[in-house]
Symmetry: C2
């Protein structure tokens, strides 16, 4: 009898863990706590791609999940075993723990370094002649915030690894570039991996920032046994960075390894994916189906859909410019197509995001004013966080536009092919991590190429049904084969091999 | 008897050329013509690093120099052999010719594609969430402007190569990425090189723009026998680009070659430099010496100097922020240091440059208001194009700040060490091409690292005389050895070897 994907994941987990628990550390955990008016703590389930993806892990392996205490509620809950057990689901499958530090430490790590600095840096979102300005306060936030918060994570991880000389630890993303090193010093034989969910930019970008920061990141990452990236290009950029900034390291591009301080770090590619079954369940829920019906009633013959956080790197503005160019060049489409844009509020406290949102709204208003009619609104904007509604939108799309400037992976592209009920054509940026896996089934666009994006939309709308069907079938097989279980299993297998 | 540098250059030229002339093509030539009120044409000598550098070439080899007809005067002069002979110096050493096209063709090539698009792209100066927007008009300017202008250059080159099946041709810079291909088609055995004076960005940048453009550039460059870059990193980025966008090409990173259409293109590094003697002559001129005296009289004990076009990629703003941080942290310097900033007007028609200039002026005003006194102005700004004055400034500097965001080479860094009369310490961006040759004698800074730049300035001002002397002597030997003659000779030798 063939092994199921779950069986194979279970085997990989057993091989790696034996009777251990897998320790995962992420900035944002599955639950945060808010202090209520009466002083009690109320748990709230988190959302976001990373939490959703890792949430599946606990189904397959016994898990200790360490997240940053982000709020005062979290800091209080950190010391309350009962609350933590309830938040972890009541059983012992997922043990939730917090890495705690003073509020100012976390704020500086998160609101000065991780989000405005590393996120912008790695998505190349700066107007470089003006930003960033790395001044004394940035360097203080790095040292007292980011470095200190990574130390707090290391301490929390070590607290969960007590009595185990070889704990198995998976660190995640751009908040935790420095956590492996203090763990390694306390547990030289630990098995540690780090996975970066966002893009890894080329060295010319790292060259612009303070040497102290980039060298700490490059060196700190080498305390891991495995560092994982979404695509071969990001992995290559990391190897180049190490070669540039860690002179004592030996980089082997063909093997994808770095030798440093008598240790080997394996640089690997693990494109993340979705939980196909869970996605289908939500898309097939009564709420989503009803919403799909309503949307269908409110749209014209042809439906173009995008789903994104309202975020400059998603390139939403140029998407609307391309739609505008489409209506301008192809007059026969006027009155016959609806663009449904599901935009999820994001980082509303950052000025850049607010400015960008206003530009997006202005573009939509202009298009609707210029081309709309009493009975036809070309663009319908939904600005809310409603996952079922977004999947409903994707399910009725003829064309899905995913045109980020740059994107670690982009899970909307994968959700779209899984839930489509109309053999949607996917128009996808070459700069999305997902493009590496999906190139042979999508229409490719370059993100700044508004004229080319308009042409790709036109080609998608013209595509013959059998060609659409062939393409989405191919894409769907790919996503089904390389799903979130596959992503996790390959990492566990690699770590098990290294653990020997 | 040892060969002089001039002898060796002459030998290399003979080996390559035999009794031929070297054909050089650049956008901007040594002379442009303005139509006067009476209808006559007045020639005006050009300036700028490229013209200055190539101007030396004619001293060593018989040269036909083809430049774009940029003005109506140029277009008229193009047909007037007498004017052209006079503009070339009267003799036959430098033959000046124009590549002509309709004004609209040149305007689109230069003012839509080359300067606002390719320059910004290759210097990574965009706020990518908003710019560039490649729309139908951009694509028209590409096709009818840039492509057409490159064809016009090819035609002009072929006109000068009549009767020669193997002409020797050197193309220059970002205006002429496509000229080699039409030349190659007409003269399959021509020896053609292209040298890119500006940075070559990583593929993640090229990925954002229209495939038609990046593929035309990558493929078009492979019609050259040699493509030269300022640094190994830029050469590597080019090889990566070819690998990404020209699937039929075979890239050999170790050999630095590309095989494509049964031809080999050699990818080489030729860091450009200055004419050391000519630079010294200007710095030693009576005008410069007098100006140096005056500047010395108007400055305090310590003198910090920068010389740059007023251009966002030069990172002038962060330079002033670093100076401000220096005054703030090191109170003992207040009243004792003067920052002389020689800024040359540049591209004043582009909005980005105007905005940037205003920000720079505001920063200077703020610093002078905050720290200045009745008898001490911390920053003195010179906004004019006065080369002798700039060299005079460099000659009296204790510290020279060269902190570009990114820079193909940066010749100011090389001029500074040649003309210094005070053993100036050079504070240099790692992102300047010049850093590759000068790393062991400068204080390195990362361009966004304002705090680090302030510290580097403080370290430079504290440096002991003997250490300053050692460093500048080392840098000076390097610049004297690897000067403009060396830059040219190595290219001629490589081409001679290929010509067999």
């Amino acid at each position: 009898m063939a092994l199921t994907a779950d069986d194979r994941l279970g085997d990989a987990a057993s091989a790696l863990l034996g009777d251990r628990r897998l320790i995962i550390a992420t900035n944002r955990g599955p639950v945060t706590f808010t202090t209520m008016a009466d002083g009690s703590l109320r748990p709230r389930r988190g959302s976001g791609g990373l939490v959703t993806a890792l949430g599946q892990v606990g189904r397959h392996v016994p898990l200790t999940w360490i997240a940053a205490a982000m709020s005062d509620g979290d800091r209080r809950a950190a010391a309350d075993p009962k609350l933590l057990r309830e938040a972890g689901g009541g059983g012992d499958d997922v043990r939730l723990r917090f890495a705690t530090a003073e509020r100012s430490v976390y704020e500086q790590a998160y609101n000065v370094i991780a989000n405005p600095f590393l996120w912008f840096l790695q998505h190349q979102m700066w107007n470089l002649p003006e930003k960033p300005v790395i001044d004394a306060s940035t360097m203080r936030a790095w040292e007292r915030g980011y470095v200190a918060m990574n130390d707090a994570f290391a301490k929390a991880v070590l607290g969960q690894a007590r009595g185990d000389r070889t704990p198995r630890i998976m660190l995640h993303d751009y908040h935790l570039y420095l956590a492996a090193d203090p763990i390694r010093r306390a547990r030289p034989k630990a098995i540690i991996s780090h996975f970066t969910h966002i893009p890894w930019p080329p060295s010319s970008i790292w060259l612009t920032i303070a040497p102290v920061i980039r060298e700490a990141i490059a060196t700190g990452m080498l305390a891991n046994d495995v560092v994982g990236f979404q695509t071969p290009r990001y992995a290559h950029n990391f190897l180049r960075m190490v070669e540039s900034f860690v002179p004592k390291a030996t980089v082997d591009y063909d093997a994808g390894t770095v030798r440093h301080r008598r240790r080997t770090t394996h640089v690997r590619t693990y494109p993340i994916s979705i939980d196909v079954d869970a996605t289908r369940r939500v898309a097939g829920s009564r709420a989503a189906l009803r919403r799909a019906d309503q949307l269908m009633g409110a749209t014209r013959e042809r439906v173009l859909v995008r789903v994104d956080r309202l975020e400059p790197s998603k390139n939403i503005l140029r998407g609307f410019l391309a739609f505008e160019a489409l209506l301008q060049r192809h007059a026969r489409l006027r009155g016959r197509i609806t663009f449904l844009a599901f935009l999820v509020p994001s980082r509303t406290g950052l000025r850049e995001y607010g400015d960008y949102g206003r530009q997006v709204q202005n573009a939509v208003d202009r298009i609707n004013a210029r081309y709309g009619a009493a009975d036809w609104r070309p663009v319908q904007l939904f600005y809310e966080n409603d996952y079922a509604q977004a999947l409903a939108g994707l399910s009725i799309a003829d064309v899905v536009l995913v045109n980020p400037l740059v994107d670690g992976m982009n899970l909307v592209a994968k959700e779209a092919v899984v839930v489509s009920g109309r053999d949607a054509v996917l128009v996808l940026s070459e700069t999305a991590g997902a493009f590496d896996q999906m190139a042979d089934g999508v229409l490719a666009v370059a993100p700044a190429d508004v004229a080319g994006t308009a042409e790709a939309l036109a080609a998608a709308l013209r595509m013959e049904p059998d060609e659409r069907q062939r393409r989405i079938a191919r894409l769907r097989r790919g996503v089904e084969r390389e799903d979130i279980t596959w992503w996790l299993r390959r990492q566990l297998e690699d770590l098990a091999e290294i653990a020997g």
